[in-house]
Protein backbone atom coordinates (compact mmCIF):
# COMPACT_ATOMS: atom_id res chain seq x y z
CA UNK A 1 0.00 0.00 0.00
CA UNK A 2 1.00 3.65 -0.35
CA UNK A 3 1.66 5.61 2.87
CA UNK A 4 0.95 9.34 2.94
CA UNK A 5 1.59 11.53 5.98
CA UNK A 6 0.19 15.00 6.67
CA UNK A 7 -1.08 17.53 9.15
CA UNK A 8 -4.31 17.28 11.12
CA UNK A 9 -5.93 19.63 13.63
CA UNK A 10 -5.49 17.26 16.62
CA UNK A 11 -1.81 16.79 15.71
CA UNK A 12 -1.32 20.55 15.50
CA UNK A 13 -3.16 21.16 18.75
CA UNK A 14 -0.83 18.89 20.70
CA UNK A 15 2.36 19.64 18.76
CA UNK A 16 3.73 21.91 21.51
CA UNK A 17 3.43 19.09 24.05
CA UNK A 18 4.31 15.87 22.32
CA UNK A 19 4.65 13.74 25.48
CA UNK A 20 0.87 14.14 25.91
CA UNK A 21 -1.42 11.13 25.34
CA UNK A 22 -3.40 13.21 22.82
CA UNK A 23 -0.35 13.65 20.57
CA UNK A 24 0.65 9.99 20.67
CA UNK A 25 -2.93 8.87 20.03
CA UNK A 26 -3.24 11.10 16.95
CA UNK A 27 0.12 10.31 15.37
CA UNK A 28 -0.42 6.56 15.81
CA UNK A 29 -3.68 6.55 13.80
CA UNK A 30 -3.85 5.14 10.30
CA UNK A 31 -6.78 6.08 8.09
CA UNK A 32 -7.68 3.40 5.54
CA UNK A 33 -10.50 3.02 3.05
CA UNK A 34 -13.29 0.71 4.32
CA UNK A 35 -12.67 -1.62 1.37
CA UNK A 36 -9.07 -2.11 2.48
CA UNK A 37 -10.24 -2.94 6.01
CA UNK A 38 -12.41 -5.68 4.50
CA UNK A 39 -9.48 -7.02 2.49
CA UNK A 40 -7.28 -7.08 5.60
CA UNK A 41 -10.06 -8.68 7.65
CA UNK A 42 -9.97 -5.96 10.30
CA UNK A 43 -12.35 -3.35 11.70
CA UNK A 44 -12.20 0.24 12.81
CA UNK A 45 -10.15 0.41 16.03
CA UNK A 46 -8.07 -2.71 15.28
CA UNK A 47 -4.33 -2.52 14.85
CA UNK A 48 -2.01 -2.94 11.88
CA UNK A 49 1.73 -3.19 11.45
CA UNK A 50 3.22 -1.18 8.61
CA UNK A 51 6.70 -2.05 7.41
CA UNK A 52 9.21 -0.46 5.08
CA UNK A 53 12.59 -2.14 4.70
CA UNK A 54 13.68 -3.40 8.11
CA UNK A 55 11.59 -0.89 10.09
CA UNK A 56 8.01 -1.33 11.25
CA UNK A 57 5.49 0.29 13.59
CA UNK A 58 2.06 -0.63 14.97
CA UNK A 59 -0.84 1.78 14.41
CA UNK A 60 -4.53 1.94 15.30
CA UNK A 61 -6.87 1.82 12.33
CA UNK A 62 -9.57 4.37 11.57
CA UNK A 63 -11.90 3.80 8.66
CA UNK A 64 -11.97 6.81 6.37
CA UNK A 65 -14.18 7.23 3.31
CA UNK A 66 -11.95 10.09 2.21
CA UNK A 67 -8.89 7.87 1.78
CA UNK A 68 -8.42 6.27 -1.65
CA UNK A 69 -8.24 2.45 -1.59
CA UNK A 70 -4.68 1.19 -1.66
CA UNK A 71 -3.40 4.10 0.42
CA UNK A 72 -3.22 4.94 4.11
CA UNK A 73 -2.97 8.36 5.73
CA UNK A 74 -1.07 8.82 8.99
CA UNK A 75 -0.78 12.22 10.75
CA UNK A 76 2.79 13.61 10.84
CA UNK A 77 4.82 12.43 13.80
CA UNK A 78 7.19 9.92 15.32
CA UNK A 79 5.08 6.86 14.48
CA UNK A 80 5.00 7.41 10.71
CA UNK A 81 8.61 8.61 10.72
CA UNK A 82 9.63 5.32 12.29
CA UNK A 83 9.26 3.76 8.82
CA UNK A 84 9.83 6.75 6.49
CA UNK A 85 13.14 6.21 4.63
CA UNK A 86 15.80 8.91 5.05
CA UNK A 87 16.83 9.06 1.37
CA UNK A 88 16.29 12.55 -0.07
CA UNK A 89 17.30 11.88 -3.70
CA UNK A 90 19.65 14.85 -3.63
CA UNK A 91 16.98 17.35 -2.59
CA UNK A 92 17.24 17.40 1.21
CA UNK A 93 13.61 16.30 1.44
CA UNK A 94 12.74 12.69 2.34
CA UNK A 95 9.65 11.05 0.84
CA UNK A 96 7.02 11.82 3.48
CA UNK A 97 4.31 10.89 0.97
CA UNK A 98 3.96 8.12 -1.57
CA UNK A 99 5.96 5.54 0.40
CA UNK A 100 5.42 1.89 -0.50
CA UNK A 101 4.77 -0.09 2.72
CA UNK A 102 3.61 -3.58 3.68
CA UNK A 103 0.49 -3.68 5.84
CA UNK A 104 -0.69 -6.59 7.99
CA UNK A 105 -3.08 -7.04 10.95
CA UNK A 106 -1.31 -6.85 14.32
CA UNK A 107 -2.09 -7.66 17.93
CA UNK A 108 0.93 -5.94 19.50
CA UNK A 109 0.16 -2.77 21.44
CA UNK A 110 0.78 0.67 19.96
CA UNK A 111 4.02 2.01 21.37
CA UNK A 112 4.25 5.43 23.01
CA UNK A 113 6.38 8.18 21.51
CA UNK A 114 8.90 7.75 24.35
CA UNK A 115 9.11 4.00 23.59
CA UNK A 116 9.92 4.85 19.97
CA UNK A 117 12.58 7.37 21.02
CA UNK A 118 14.17 4.81 23.34
CA UNK A 119 14.24 2.32 20.45
CA UNK A 120 16.39 4.88 18.62
CA UNK A 121 18.76 5.37 21.55
CA UNK A 122 17.07 8.27 23.33
CA UNK A 123 15.78 8.51 26.89
CA UNK A 124 12.30 9.54 28.01
CA UNK A 125 12.05 12.81 29.93
Amino acid sequence: MILNTGRTIPQGNSVEYKPSPEYGAETSRAFLAPLDLMDLGIEDGDRIRISCGDRSVVLTVSAGDHVPPGTLFVPYGAHANHVVPAATHGTGMPDFKGISVDVEPATDPVRSVWDLMEDLGGRRY
Binding site: I9, P19, Y76, T88, V113
Partner: protein
Protein backbone atom coordinates in the same frame (compact mmCIF):
# COMPACT_ATOMS: atom_id res chain seq x y z
CA UNK B 1 -6.11 42.40 31.15
CA UNK B 2 -6.84 42.01 27.45
CA UNK B 3 -3.96 42.56 25.03
CA UNK B 4 -5.41 43.49 21.64
CA UNK B 5 -4.18 43.00 18.07
CA UNK B 6 -1.71 40.30 19.05
CA UNK B 7 0.07 38.41 16.25
CA UNK B 8 -0.28 34.64 16.44
CA UNK B 9 3.06 32.75 16.48
CA UNK B 10 1.77 29.40 15.26
CA UNK B 11 1.65 29.24 11.47
CA UNK B 12 2.91 31.57 8.75
CA UNK B 13 -0.50 33.23 8.32
CA UNK B 14 0.64 35.38 11.28
CA UNK B 15 -2.97 36.42 12.00
CA UNK B 16 -2.68 39.85 13.61
CA UNK B 17 -6.11 40.33 15.18
CA UNK B 18 -5.96 38.18 18.30
CA UNK B 19 -7.20 39.40 21.68
CA UNK B 20 -5.31 37.64 24.45
CA UNK B 21 -6.61 37.56 28.02
CA UNK B 22 -3.79 37.65 30.58
CA UNK B 23 -4.22 37.21 34.34
CA UNK B 24 -1.50 36.70 36.96
CA UNK B 25 1.20 36.19 34.34
CA UNK B 26 -0.77 33.51 32.48
CA UNK B 27 -2.88 33.41 29.35
CA UNK B 28 -6.45 32.61 30.37
CA UNK B 29 -8.17 33.00 27.01
CA UNK B 30 -7.68 33.87 23.35
CA UNK B 31 -10.25 35.47 21.04
CA UNK B 32 -10.18 35.25 17.23
CA UNK B 33 -7.46 32.59 17.06
CA UNK B 34 -7.96 29.22 15.38
CA UNK B 35 -7.78 26.01 17.38
CA UNK B 36 -4.04 25.66 16.68
CA UNK B 37 -3.20 29.21 17.76
CA UNK B 38 -5.37 28.99 20.88
CA UNK B 39 -3.64 25.80 21.99
CA UNK B 40 -0.22 27.38 21.55
CA UNK B 41 -1.14 30.33 23.76
CA UNK B 42 -2.84 28.13 26.34
CA UNK B 43 -0.28 25.30 26.55
CA UNK B 44 1.35 25.36 29.95
CA UNK B 45 3.80 22.48 29.98
CA UNK B 46 7.02 24.43 29.91
CA UNK B 47 10.27 23.10 31.25
CA UNK B 48 11.14 25.00 34.45
CA UNK B 49 14.88 25.46 33.99
CA UNK B 50 17.90 24.03 32.16
CA UNK B 51 18.43 20.26 32.53
CA UNK B 52 21.34 17.95 31.81
CA UNK B 53 21.15 14.25 31.08
CA UNK B 54 22.96 12.06 33.62
CA UNK B 55 23.82 8.36 33.65
CA UNK B 56 20.46 7.49 35.15
CA UNK B 57 18.13 10.43 34.59
CA UNK B 58 18.07 14.20 34.44
CA UNK B 59 19.47 16.93 36.69
CA UNK B 60 18.64 20.61 36.88
CA UNK B 61 21.62 22.87 36.23
CA UNK B 62 22.16 26.64 36.43
CA UNK B 63 21.69 28.60 33.19
CA UNK B 64 25.29 29.83 33.36
CA UNK B 65 26.60 26.26 33.41
CA UNK B 66 24.30 25.18 30.56
CA UNK B 67 25.57 28.04 28.38
CA UNK B 68 29.21 27.36 29.24
CA UNK B 69 28.92 23.66 28.44
CA UNK B 70 27.09 24.35 25.19
CA UNK B 71 29.84 26.76 24.11
CA UNK B 72 32.48 24.14 24.94
CA UNK B 73 30.66 21.44 22.97
CA UNK B 74 30.33 23.73 19.94
CA UNK B 75 33.99 24.72 20.08
CA UNK B 76 35.16 21.14 20.43
CA UNK B 77 33.05 19.84 17.55
CA UNK B 78 34.66 19.15 14.18
CA UNK B 79 31.39 19.36 12.25
CA UNK B 80 28.53 20.82 14.28
CA UNK B 81 25.02 21.00 12.84
CA UNK B 82 22.86 23.95 13.93
CA UNK B 83 19.28 23.03 13.07
CA UNK B 84 15.75 24.33 13.49
CA UNK B 85 15.13 28.09 13.61
CA UNK B 86 11.58 28.27 12.26
CA UNK B 87 9.83 28.71 15.61
CA UNK B 88 11.88 31.69 16.67
CA UNK B 89 12.33 35.28 15.55
CA UNK B 90 14.72 36.88 13.09
CA UNK B 91 16.98 38.22 15.81
CA UNK B 92 17.75 34.69 17.04
CA UNK B 93 18.11 33.42 13.47
CA UNK B 94 20.66 36.13 12.78
CA UNK B 95 22.60 35.21 15.93
CA UNK B 96 22.43 31.56 14.83
CA UNK B 97 23.93 32.25 11.39
CA UNK B 98 26.78 34.23 13.00
CA UNK B 99 27.38 31.37 15.45
CA UNK B 100 27.42 28.78 12.65
CA UNK B 101 30.03 30.81 10.77
CA UNK B 102 32.08 31.23 13.95
CA UNK B 103 32.27 27.49 14.66
CA UNK B 104 32.54 26.47 10.98
CA UNK B 105 29.32 24.46 11.18
CA UNK B 106 26.34 23.70 9.00
CA UNK B 107 23.16 25.67 9.60
CA UNK B 108 19.85 24.35 8.28
CA UNK B 109 16.22 25.11 8.99
CA UNK B 110 12.98 23.11 8.94
CA UNK B 111 12.69 24.54 5.44
CA UNK B 112 14.57 21.51 4.17
CA UNK B 113 11.67 19.23 5.21
CA UNK B 114 8.82 21.57 4.22
CA UNK B 115 9.24 24.06 1.35
CA UNK B 116 12.92 23.46 0.56
CA UNK B 117 11.91 21.99 -2.82
CA UNK B 118 9.81 25.12 -3.47
CA UNK B 119 12.91 27.26 -3.04
CA UNK B 120 14.87 24.98 -5.38
CA UNK B 121 12.15 25.45 -8.02
CA UNK B 122 12.04 29.20 -7.44
CA UNK B 123 15.81 29.32 -7.94
CA UNK B 124 15.27 27.65 -11.32
CA UNK B 125 12.35 29.64 -12.71
CA UNK B 126 11.55 32.53 -10.35
CA UNK B 127 8.74 33.35 -7.95
CA UNK B 128 5.61 35.09 -9.26
CA UNK B 129 4.52 36.10 -5.75
CA UNK B 130 2.29 38.72 -4.19
CA UNK B 131 1.11 39.80 -0.76
CA UNK B 132 -1.91 38.14 0.82
CA UNK B 133 -3.63 41.53 0.71
CA UNK B 134 -3.57 41.35 -3.08
CA UNK B 135 -5.19 37.92 -2.94
CA UNK B 136 -7.88 39.09 -0.54
CA UNK B 137 -8.75 42.19 -2.56
CA UNK B 138 -8.37 40.91 -6.12
CA UNK B 139 -8.39 37.12 -6.52
CA UNK B 140 -11.58 35.67 -8.00
CA UNK B 141 -10.08 32.21 -8.57
CA UNK B 142 -8.00 30.51 -5.89
CA UNK B 143 -6.19 27.18 -6.18
CA UNK B 144 -5.07 25.10 -3.18
CA UNK B 145 -2.87 22.32 -4.55
CA UNK B 146 -1.61 19.52 -2.30
CA UNK B 147 -2.55 21.29 0.89
CA UNK B 148 -5.32 21.20 3.46
CA UNK B 149 -5.59 24.74 4.84
CA UNK B 150 -8.60 23.84 6.99
CA UNK B 151 -6.21 21.75 9.11
CA UNK B 152 -2.80 23.35 8.62
CA UNK B 153 -3.73 27.05 8.21
CA UNK B 154 -7.31 27.16 9.53
CA UNK B 155 -7.90 30.91 9.10
CA UNK B 156 -6.36 31.24 5.65
CA UNK B 157 -9.75 30.92 3.96
CA UNK B 158 -11.51 33.37 6.27
CA UNK B 159 -8.77 36.01 6.19
CA UNK B 160 -7.63 35.88 2.58
CA UNK B 161 -9.76 33.74 0.28
CA UNK B 162 -13.12 31.92 0.43
CA UNK B 163 -14.76 33.95 3.18
CA UNK B 164 -12.77 37.20 2.95
CA UNK B 165 -14.59 40.01 1.15
CA UNK B 166 -12.15 42.29 -0.67
CA UNK B 167 -12.07 45.65 -2.44
CA UNK B 168 -12.69 44.12 -5.87
CA UNK B 169 -14.40 40.97 -4.60
CA UNK B 170 -17.34 42.34 -2.68
CA UNK B 171 -19.03 39.01 -1.92
CA UNK B 172 -16.19 36.56 -1.72
CA UNK B 173 -18.21 33.44 -0.99
CA UNK B 174 -20.28 33.91 -4.15
CA UNK B 175 -17.77 35.56 -6.47
CA UNK B 176 -14.62 33.61 -5.66
CA UNK B 177 -14.09 30.16 -7.18
CA UNK B 178 -11.95 27.73 -5.21
CA UNK B 179 -10.14 24.79 -6.82
CA UNK B 180 -8.56 22.17 -4.55
CA UNK B 181 -6.25 19.43 -5.82
CA UNK B 182 -5.53 16.48 -3.55
CA UNK B 183 -5.25 12.70 -3.60
CA UNK B 184 -7.82 12.34 -0.80
CA UNK B 185 -10.95 14.08 0.36
CA UNK B 186 -10.34 16.61 3.15
CA UNK B 187 -12.20 19.38 4.97
CA UNK B 188 -10.70 21.71 2.34
CA UNK B 189 -11.79 19.67 -0.68
CA UNK B 190 -15.31 19.72 0.79
CA UNK B 191 -15.35 23.50 0.30
CA UNK B 192 -14.09 23.44 -3.28
CA UNK B 193 -16.04 24.47 -6.35
CA UNK B 194 -13.76 22.07 -8.24
CA UNK B 195 -12.04 19.13 -6.52
CA UNK B 196 -9.25 17.70 -8.65
CA UNK B 197 -8.83 14.23 -7.20
CA UNK B 198 -5.59 12.90 -8.56
CA UNK B 199 -3.79 9.62 -8.14
CA UNK B 200 -0.85 9.61 -5.71
CA UNK B 201 2.22 10.98 -7.46
CA UNK B 202 0.18 12.35 -10.36
CA UNK B 203 0.78 16.06 -9.69
CA UNK B 204 3.49 16.61 -12.28
CA UNK B 205 1.46 14.98 -15.04
CA UNK B 206 -1.75 16.88 -14.22
CA UNK B 207 0.07 20.23 -13.99
CA UNK B 208 1.73 19.44 -17.31
CA UNK B 209 -1.63 18.62 -18.92
CA UNK B 210 -3.07 21.92 -17.68
CA UNK B 211 -0.07 23.77 -19.12
CA UNK B 212 -0.63 22.09 -22.48
CA UNK B 213 -4.32 23.05 -22.54
CA UNK B 214 -3.65 26.66 -21.51
CA UNK B 215 -1.01 26.88 -24.25
CA UNK B 216 -3.52 25.64 -26.85
CA UNK B 217 -2.00 22.17 -27.19
CA UNK B 218 -4.86 20.32 -25.52
CA UNK B 219 -5.03 17.82 -28.38
CA UNK B 220 -2.01 16.01 -26.87
CA UNK B 221 -3.84 15.39 -23.57
CA UNK B 222 -5.20 11.82 -23.21
CA UNK B 223 -8.78 11.17 -21.95
CA UNK B 224 -7.50 10.74 -18.41
CA UNK B 225 -4.37 12.04 -16.66
CA UNK B 226 -3.46 10.52 -13.28
CA UNK B 227 -7.12 9.89 -12.47
CA UNK B 228 -8.35 13.29 -13.72
CA UNK B 229 -10.63 13.41 -16.75
CA UNK B 230 -9.75 15.56 -19.77
CA UNK B 231 -13.18 17.22 -19.45
CA UNK B 232 -12.37 18.42 -15.93
CA UNK B 233 -8.92 19.56 -16.99
CA UNK B 234 -10.45 21.68 -19.79
CA UNK B 235 -13.00 23.07 -17.33
CA UNK B 236 -10.26 23.99 -14.83
CA UNK B 237 -8.07 25.54 -17.52
CA UNK B 238 -10.99 27.64 -18.74
CA UNK B 239 -11.82 28.78 -15.20
CA UNK B 240 -8.20 29.79 -14.66
CA UNK B 241 -7.80 31.58 -18.01
CA UNK B 242 -10.95 33.62 -17.56
CA UNK B 243 -10.12 34.69 -14.00
CA UNK B 244 -9.56 38.39 -13.42
CA UNK B 245 -6.88 37.51 -10.89
CA UNK B 246 -5.82 34.02 -9.85
CA UNK B 247 -3.87 32.92 -6.79
CA UNK B 248 -2.16 29.52 -6.63
CA UNK B 249 -1.33 28.18 -3.16
CA UNK B 250 0.38 24.86 -2.60
CA UNK B 251 1.70 22.68 0.22
CA UNK B 252 3.47 19.47 1.11
CA UNK B 253 1.42 17.52 -1.41
CA UNK B 254 3.78 18.93 -4.03
CA UNK B 255 7.02 19.28 -2.05
CA UNK B 256 7.07 15.87 -0.36
CA UNK B 257 5.96 13.62 -3.20
CA UNK B 258 8.09 12.09 -5.92
CA UNK B 259 9.37 14.75 -8.27
CA UNK B 260 9.78 17.20 -5.37
CA UNK B 261 11.00 20.53 -6.79
CA UNK B 262 10.10 19.56 -10.35
CA UNK B 263 6.43 19.48 -9.28
CA UNK B 264 6.71 23.06 -8.08
CA UNK B 265 8.62 24.13 -11.16
CA UNK B 266 5.71 22.81 -13.23
CA UNK B 267 3.25 24.75 -11.04
CA UNK B 268 5.25 27.96 -11.45
CA UNK B 269 5.38 27.44 -15.20
CA UNK B 270 1.60 26.88 -15.24
CA UNK B 271 1.21 30.22 -13.46
CA UNK B 272 3.60 31.74 -16.01
CA UNK B 273 1.50 30.29 -18.82
CA UNK B 274 -1.75 31.59 -17.30
CA UNK B 275 -0.22 35.04 -16.88
CA UNK B 276 -0.07 35.30 -20.69
CA UNK B 277 -3.88 35.40 -20.55
CA UNK B 278 -4.59 37.14 -17.23
CA UNK B 279 -2.88 37.79 -13.89
CA UNK B 280 -1.79 34.84 -11.73
CA UNK B 281 0.46 34.55 -8.67
CA UNK B 282 1.86 31.67 -6.61
CA UNK B 283 2.48 31.39 -2.86
CA UNK B 284 3.84 28.44 -0.85
CA UNK B 285 1.73 27.68 2.24
CA UNK B 286 4.59 28.04 4.70
CA UNK B 287 4.14 26.13 7.97
CA UNK B 288 6.04 27.39 11.03
CA UNK B 289 5.28 31.01 11.84
CA UNK B 290 8.77 32.21 10.92
CA UNK B 291 10.17 29.58 8.59
CA UNK B 292 10.08 32.17 5.79
CA UNK B 293 12.01 34.48 8.12
CA UNK B 294 14.92 32.07 8.32
CA UNK B 295 15.16 32.00 4.54
CA UNK B 296 15.17 35.81 4.43
CA UNK B 297 17.70 36.21 7.24
CA UNK B 298 20.00 33.47 5.95
CA UNK B 299 19.86 34.88 2.41
CA UNK B 300 20.78 38.40 3.38
CA UNK B 301 23.57 37.11 5.59
CA UNK B 302 25.06 34.34 3.43
CA UNK B 303 23.49 34.60 -0.01
CA UNK B 304 21.67 31.27 0.48
CA UNK B 305 18.28 30.55 2.06
CA UNK B 306 19.04 27.38 4.11
CA UNK B 307 21.43 24.41 4.32
CA UNK B 308 24.55 26.57 4.51
CA UNK B 309 27.89 24.91 5.30
CA UNK B 310 30.66 27.11 6.72
CA UNK B 311 33.27 24.32 7.01
CA UNK B 312 35.33 25.86 4.19
CA UNK B 313 35.39 29.25 5.87
CA UNK B 314 32.83 30.52 3.36
CA UNK B 315 29.16 29.90 2.72
CA UNK B 316 28.56 26.71 0.71
CA UNK B 317 25.06 25.59 -0.26
CA UNK B 318 24.13 22.24 -1.73
CA UNK B 319 20.74 20.83 -0.65
CA UNK B 320 20.91 17.04 -0.65
CA UNK B 321 24.42 17.28 0.80
CA UNK B 322 24.28 20.15 3.32
CA UNK B 323 20.70 19.50 4.48
CA UNK B 324 20.07 18.20 8.00
CA UNK B 325 18.44 14.85 7.17
CA UNK B 326 21.28 13.94 4.81
CA UNK B 327 23.99 14.99 7.28
CA UNK B 328 22.40 12.97 10.08
CA UNK B 329 21.68 9.93 7.90
CA UNK B 330 25.34 9.94 6.78
CA UNK B 331 26.31 10.18 10.49
CA UNK B 332 28.48 13.12 9.54
CA UNK B 333 27.94 15.71 12.29
CA UNK B 334 29.60 15.25 15.68
CA UNK B 335 27.45 17.74 17.60
CA UNK B 336 23.98 19.18 17.08
CA UNK B 337 22.45 22.41 18.39
CA UNK B 338 18.68 22.35 17.95
CA UNK B 339 16.81 25.63 18.22
CA UNK B 340 13.01 26.00 18.04
CA UNK B 341 12.13 22.75 16.31
CA UNK B 342 11.82 19.03 16.99
CA UNK B 343 13.80 16.90 14.53
CA UNK B 344 13.32 13.71 16.58
CA UNK B 345 9.58 13.91 15.91
CA UNK B 346 9.77 15.02 12.30
CA UNK B 347 12.82 13.32 10.79
CA UNK B 348 12.96 9.72 9.55
CA UNK B 349 14.17 7.30 12.24
CA UNK B 350 17.38 6.58 10.38
CA UNK B 351 18.39 10.25 10.72
CA UNK B 352 17.18 10.52 14.34
CA UNK B 353 19.31 7.54 15.40
CA UNK B 354 22.52 9.50 14.90
CA UNK B 355 21.36 12.07 17.48
CA UNK B 356 21.80 9.34 20.12
CA UNK B 357 25.50 9.04 19.40
CA UNK B 358 26.51 12.72 19.49
CA UNK B 359 26.11 15.54 22.03
CA UNK B 360 22.85 17.41 21.42
CA UNK B 361 21.87 20.73 22.99
CA UNK B 362 18.35 21.99 22.56
CA UNK B 363 16.87 25.46 23.07
CA UNK B 364 13.12 25.00 23.38
CA UNK B 365 10.43 26.10 25.85
CA UNK B 366 8.84 22.66 26.01
CA UNK B 367 10.01 19.10 26.54
CA UNK B 368 9.64 17.43 23.15
CA UNK B 369 10.88 14.29 21.47
CA UNK B 370 14.32 15.79 20.77
CA UNK B 371 14.63 16.16 24.55
CA UNK B 372 15.10 12.37 24.58
CA UNK B 373 18.43 12.87 22.75
CA UNK B 374 19.55 16.10 24.42
CA UNK B 375 22.57 16.25 26.68
CA UNK B 376 21.37 19.70 27.72
CA UNK B 377 18.07 21.50 27.19
CA UNK B 378 17.68 25.19 27.92
CA UNK B 379 14.06 26.35 28.15
CA UNK B 380 13.52 29.73 26.54
CA UNK B 381 10.71 32.24 26.16
CA UNK B 382 8.11 31.57 23.45
CA UNK B 383 8.57 34.04 20.62
CA UNK B 384 5.42 36.12 20.25
CA UNK B 385 4.09 35.18 23.69
CA UNK B 386 6.80 36.13 26.18
CA UNK B 387 9.49 37.36 23.77
CA UNK B 388 9.49 40.15 21.16
CA UNK B 389 10.89 39.73 17.67
CA UNK B 390 10.42 39.94 13.92
CA UNK B 391 8.72 37.25 11.85
CA UNK B 392 7.97 36.94 8.13
CA UNK B 393 4.50 36.00 6.96
CA UNK B 394 4.12 33.37 4.22
CA UNK B 395 3.99 36.17 1.63
CA UNK B 396 7.30 37.64 2.80
CA UNK B 397 5.86 40.55 4.80
CA UNK B 398 7.85 41.12 8.02
CA UNK B 399 5.76 41.77 11.13
CA UNK B 400 6.86 42.74 14.62
CA UNK B 401 5.69 40.36 17.34
CA UNK B 402 5.25 41.80 20.84
CA UNK B 403 5.25 39.84 24.07
CA UNK B 404 1.97 39.66 25.93
CA UNK B 405 3.49 38.61 29.26
CA UNK B 406 6.79 37.93 31.00
CA UNK B 407 7.45 34.47 32.42
CA UNK B 408 11.06 35.24 33.30
CA UNK B 409 12.62 32.99 30.65
CA UNK B 410 15.57 34.19 28.53
CA UNK B 411 14.93 34.47 24.78
CA UNK B 412 16.71 32.46 22.07
CA UNK B 413 18.71 35.43 20.77
CA UNK B 414 20.05 36.27 24.24
CA UNK B 415 21.23 32.70 24.85
CA UNK B 416 22.84 32.44 21.40
CA UNK B 417 24.65 35.76 21.79
CA UNK B 418 25.95 34.64 25.19
CA UNK B 419 27.20 31.34 23.71
CA UNK B 420 28.93 33.36 20.97
CA UNK B 421 30.47 35.69 23.56
CA UNK B 422 31.84 32.67 25.46
CA UNK B 423 33.46 31.27 22.32
CA UNK B 424 34.99 34.56 21.19
CA UNK B 425 36.00 35.53 24.70
CA UNK B 426 33.96 38.69 24.40
CA UNK B 427 35.59 40.09 21.26
CA UNK B 428 34.92 39.45 17.59
CA UNK B 429 36.77 36.66 15.83
Amino acid sequence: MIVRDVICPFCACLCDDLDVHVEDGRVTGVDNACDLGSHKFMTDHRMKGPVRRTASGWEEIPLEEAIRETAELLEAAERPLLYGWSGTCGEAQSAGVHLAELVGGVIDATTSVCHGPSILAIQEVGHPGCTLGQVKNRADVVVYWGCNPQHAHPRHLSRYTTYADGFFVRNAFKERKVIVADIRGTDSTNLADEFIRLQPGGDYAVLGALRAIVRGKGDVVPPEVAGVSREQLYRIADLCKTAKYGAFFFGMGLTQTAGKYKNIRNAIELVDELSRHTKWTLTPMRGHFNVYGFNEVCTWMTGYPYAVDFARGMAFYNPGETTAVDILARKECDMCLVVASDPAAHFPAEAVEHLASIPVVQLDPFPNLTTAFARIQIPVAVSGIDADGTAYRMDGVPLRLHRVLDRGYPDDAGILLEITRRITGGGSR
